[in-house]
C-alpha cells in the first residue's frame, strides 16, 4: 500500500482550474520529485498533501486514510521558510517538539530539539533570531523544525529556489545525506530538473497550469550517493535529463499557444514623506497611469 496517494484530485480557485485529475502514489522510503513551471499549481499540490487545502473532488490518502488536515506525520518545509521571526532558532524548533510531546520532561524535549538543530549544523546559531540568519540557514531551521516532528513523509515545497547556487548545492547535499541516513520518505517540489535528477528516485513532471495534471513519472535508477560533478558526464544522467525536459516541454506544447494579460501598474509611486516638498524641483508622486498588455508566448517544442 502506498504511503501517500492522490486519486483523481481536482482543485479550482473560483473559475480557474488549478489541478485537474491528479494521480500520485508515493511508497514508503521513496524520494519523489515533482517538477513543474512556476504557476503550474505545485504549491497547491503540496498544500493538499499537507492537508492545508482540501481537494474539490477526488481523494487524498495518507497510509490508506483520507487526509483531513495537517498532521505531524507529514512534515512540511515551506518555500519561504515561514519561521516565526520573534523566536530564536531553538525556540522555533521547540515549538513543534513541545506541542507534539507534552508528556515528555523538559530535559527530554530540549535534548530532542538540540539533536535536530545540530543535525542541520546550526548548533552555533541556536540562540539567533531568523533575521540574523542567511537564507540557507533559515531554510535549514525550517527543515529541522519539520524533521523534529519525526514525520513519516517530508514534504519540501521548493525549499531551495530562493537560495543562491552555492548554498543550494550545499543544502542539496544535506538533503541527500538526510535521505541516506534516515531513509526518510520525501516528496520534493522543484522547478530545477538537475536538482530533481540529483536527489530523487522518481521524477514526475507537472503539466503547465491551468488545469495541471501529473505526467508519467521517470524513474531515476542512478546509484546513491550521487556526485554532481561526475554525474553531468554520465550518459545515463544525460539521457534521463533529456527525457525529463522533453516530457516537460511536450506537456507545455499541448497547452494554449500564448496567453495575454493586462498588467495594471499602480497609480502611484511611493512618496518620501520625510522630505518636504520643494518649490523648484518636482518631488510629488509620479503617476503611472499605464496599462500594458503583454503577450507571453508559450515555449515551443524544439
Amino acid at each position: 500500500m502506498p504511503l501517500l496517494e492522490l486519486k483523481q484530485v481536482s482543485k479550482r480557485f473560483g473559475d480557474a482550474s488549478v489541478l485537474n485529475e491528479v494521480n500520485l502514489s508515493v511508497e514508503e522510503g521513496e524520494f519523489v520529485a515533482i517538477i513543474g513551471y512556476s504557476g503550474s499549481g505545485k504549491t497547491t499540490l503540496v498544500s493538499i498533501l499537507a492537508g492545508l487545502l482540501a481537494p474539490d473532488s477526488g481523494t487524498a490518502l495518507f497510509d490508506g486514510r483520507a487526509i483531513e488536515g495537517p498532521g505531524p506525520e507529514r512534515g512540511l518545509v515551506f518555500q519561504n521558510y515561514s519561521l516565526l521571526p520573534w523566536l530564536t532558532v531553538v525556540e522555533n524548533v521547540a515549538l513543534a517538539v513541545d506541542q507534539l510531546h507534552p508528556d515528555w520532561s523538559d530535559s527530554q524535549r530540549s535534548a530532542h530539539t538540540d539533536r535536530y538543530v545540530s543535525m542541520v549544523n546550526l548548533a552555533a546559531a541556536r540562540d539567533k533570531r531568523p533575521a540574523e540568519l542567511s537564507g540557507g540557514m533559515r531554510q535549514r531551521v525550517s527543515v529541522a523544525r519539520a524533521l523534529a516532528m519525526s514525520p513519516r513523509v517530508l514534504l519540501l515545497d521548493e525549499p531551495l529556489s530562493a537560495l543562491d547556487a552555492l548554498t543550494r548545492a550545499t543544502l542539496q547535499d544535506e538533503i541527500a545525506r538526510l535521505r541516506r541516513e534516515q531513509n526518510q520518505t520525501i516528496v520534493l517540489i522543484t522547478n530545477d530538473p538537475d536538482e530533481a535528477l540529483l536527489l530523487a528516485d522518481r521524477v514526475i513532471p507537472l503539466t503547465r497550469g491551468p488545469g495541471a495534471t501529473l505526467g508519467p513519472g521517470v524513474p531515476i535508477p542512478l546509484p546513491h550517493p550521487r556526485d554532481r560533478r561526475s554525474l553531468t558526464h554520465d550518459p545515463m544522467f544525460q539521457r534521463l535529463r533529456r527525457e525529463v525536459i522533453a516530457s516537460l516541454l511536450s506537456v507545455a506544447a499541448r497547452t494554449t499557444t500564448s496567453l495575454s494579460k493586462d498588467l495594471i501598474l499602480p497609480n502611484l509611486e511611493p512618496e518620501d514623506l520625510e522630505r518636504p516638498r520643494s518649490w523648484s524641483t518636482r518631488s510629488g508622486p509620479v503617476r503611472l497611469q499605464e496599462r500594458r498588455t503583454v503577450t507571453v508566448p508559450a515555449p515551443t517544442d524544439d
Binding site: P70, F78, L84, P85, L95, A131, E274, R275
Partner: protein
C-alpha cells in the same frame, strides 16, 4: 531582514551641494547648524508674533514677559500646593497624568481584546463595525454629559471622576481597537499555516503566533490612544472642574486671569510630546523584533 511587512520610510535622498565653492561652504555651514538654528528661528518668530498680537489687536492677551512673570511661581515651585486649584504646574500635571493613566488602562484592557475579536471574526466585524465607525468621531465633550448621567445615580461614588474616566477610555479606545483588528487581519497566512502544520493548540496559536505577530500594530494603536487620552483630559477636567492641568486652565480663564493660560498650553503640549516619544521608543523596540 525583517520578514514582517511594515511600512518603512525611505532615507531622504541627499541633495547635491552647490558647485560654487563659497556657496558650497555656506551650504555646509548651514547643514551643520540647521538642526539648531531653524527651530530657534521658528520659535523666535512665534514669540515675535505673540508680542505683536498682544500689543496690537489682542489687548487681553498677556505678552510673553507678563506671562513669564505670572507663571514663574508655578514653575519654580512645581510641587507647591497653595489651594485646591492653586498648585504647582507639575503637581497639576501629575494629577492629570494619574487620571489619564487610569482611563488609558481601561481603554487598553477593553480595546485590545475587542480589536482581536474584530480581527478574527468576520461576524463580529459586520455586527460592530458600523457602530464603531459612528461612535468613533464623537467628541469627548459629547460623551462627558452621558457619563455624568450614567454614573450620577451611584451612591457615594465620585461621579465626576467616573464620568471623566468613561470619557477618556471611550475616546482613547478606538485607535487600539482598529489597529489591533488590522494587525490581526494582516498576520501572514504563512504563520497561520505553520500553526496548523505544527498542530498548535488554540491557546498556543494565540500566544506564540497571533499576539507576537500583531504586537507592532497594537503598539501603534497604543501610541495613538495615549495621544487621544491626553487630548481628552483637558476637556474632561474643564467640564468637571477637577484639579489638574486642564481644570487649572479653565479656572484661570473663568477668573479672568489670563497669564497662566499659555503656561498650561505649553505644559500640555510638552507632556503630550514626551508621552508620544516614550511610546514610540517602546513601539520601535517591538518593531525591530
Amino acid at each position: 531582514m525583517n520578514s514582517t511587512s511594515l511600512p518603512v520610510t525611505a532615507s531622504p535622498i541627499s541633495t547635491a551641494p552647490a558647485s560654487h565653492p563659497i556657496r558650497a561652504g555656506i551650504y555646509r555651514w548651514f547643514s551643520r547648524l540647521d538642526w539648531f538654528l531653524l527651530p530657534f528661528a521658528g520659535g523666535a518668530a512665534v514669540l515675535a508674533l505673540w508680542y505683536l498680537s498682544s500689543a496690537t489687536w489682542a489687548k487681553d492677551l498677556p505678552n510673553p514677559t507678563q506671562t513669564w512673570i505670572a507663571s514663574k511661581p508655578y514653575i519654580v515651585e512645581p510641587f507647591a500646593k497653595r489651594g485646591e486649584l492653586d498648585q504647582g504646574i507639575l503637581r497639576f500635571t501629575w494629577l492629570s497624568l494619574i487620571l489619564v493613566a487610569k482611563g488609558y488602562a481601561i481603554a487598553l484592557v477593553i480595546g485590545t481584546p475587542l480589536g482581536f475579536l474584530l480581527g478574527i471574526s468576520p461576524l463580529f466585524t459586520r455586527a460592530l463595525d458600523p457602530i464603531i465607525q459612528v461612535l468613533r468621531p464623537v467628541s469627548p465633550l459629547a460623551w462627558l454629559p452621558l457619563g455624568m448621567i450614567l454614573f450620577g445615580g451611584w451612591k457615594g461614588a465620585n461621579v465626576s471622576e467616573l464620568a471623566a474616566l468613561f470619557t477618556i477610555s471611550l475616546c482613547a479606545m478606538w485607535p487600539t481597537v482598529l489597529n489591533t483588528a488590522v494587525g490581526v487581519r494582516a498576520i501572514p497566512q504563512d504563520y497561520m499555516n505553520v500553526a496548523r502544520v505544527l498542530k498548535l493548540s488554540r491557546w498556543k496559536t494565540l500566544t506564540k503566533v497571533m499576539i507576537p505577530a500583531t504586537l507592532p500594530y497594537m503598539f501603534t494603536g497604543f501610541r495613538l490612544s495615549l495621544g487621544i487620552a491626553w487630548l481628552v483630559i483637558v476637556a474632561a477636567e474643564m467640564l468637571t472642574g477637577r484639579p489638574g492641568i486642564g481644570g487649572f486652565l479653565w479656572q484661570q480663564y473663568n477668573a479672568l486671569i489670563y497669564e497662566q493660560i499659555i503656561l498650561c498650553i505649553l505644559t500640555i503640549g510638552l507632556v503630550g510630546f514626551i508621552l508620544d516619544r516614550l511610546m514610540s521608543v517602546v513601539e520601535r523596540r517591538f518593531r525591530s523584533v
